[in-house]
Symmetry: C2
Subunit: 139 residues, 2 copies
DNA sequence: TATTGTTATACTCTATAACTATA
DNA sequence: TATAGTTATAGAGTATAACAATA
């Protein structure tokens, strides 16, 4: 019977998470953002203009957590909040021009960090990993 | 370009971790322990008698974190600390008889929780997942 | 002097509750 | 009444610093 913590799936998942987070945070740090910020930027760069709440829900975080995250990004000039004219309770959040440039640089840095993390396994295993995790997480 | 957070590997790993942790914690709760406790019990059940520091190092946690964890397990009658006769700075930590029974029950409950978590993918994908994560974590 | 266990403390992350303004 | 954003607060989790006992 094994007693090695490394055989416990939860241990492996947790430490893989921590290691990748450290790599991406390090890669993004020169841009003034971290992995969590990058997640928000991805949402903002992609779709329709979104309110704070909508972005928070896409990211799976609480709306109160979103506030501090946006405070920082706004202070850095990466995003702006503007009241939604059609519902003045809402803030529309948008990338600034500087925010777009930051995001483009962040995409490259992030992709590189993920690749470095996955270098220990082949490209096939990396794809399979992503597919398997999607199946385990999505339901 | 995708803007779905679910495409970010870090997001997938983190949420897989959280989901599995919730499942195992729920499965172990009737035994009065959680997944973190189970990790310690595995180490104690397996090898040579170990000091608090040695167990903590196996688990990758700080020795100060170990104290509270063992306080709880000792309070529940699952482990005992006894001073090491050969180095009285050390506490040898051992499972009690009740602790052994708890551990055996926990092993079954834990295995079942992992299986339930992995049910969404085939056994082949589950093995491959474990192998890939080991390769990504071990270095 | 260095190490083990302990305690006190601080820090990070995140959520809940309560408030304001809008709807 | 209900919702979006905000603020204050609290809780979990974990680490760092300092201390006592022992080596």
């Amino acid at each position: 019977m094994s007693t090695d913590p490394h055989d416990v799936l939860n241990y492996l998942l947790k430490h893989a998470t921590m290691r990748l987070a450290a790599l991406t945070d390090t890669a993004l740090a020169p841009l003034g953002i971290d992995g969590k910020d990058f997640g928000a930027l991805r949402v903002l760069a992609g779709g329709e203009p979104a309110s704070q709440l909508q972005v928070a829900q896409r990211l799976g975080i609480d709306r109160t957590t979103m506030v501090a995250l946006l405070d920082e990004l706004e202070r850095k000039g990466i995003v702006v909040r503007r009241p939604d004219p059609e519902d003045r309770r809402r803030n529309i959040v948008a990338l600034t021009e500087q925010g777009r440039r930051t995001f483009e640089a962040a995409r490259a840095a992030h992709a590189e960090a993920e690749s470095a993390f996955l270098a220990a396994v082949g490209p096939g295993a990396a794809d399979e990993l992503r597919r398997t995790l999607r199946a385990l997480v999505s339901p």
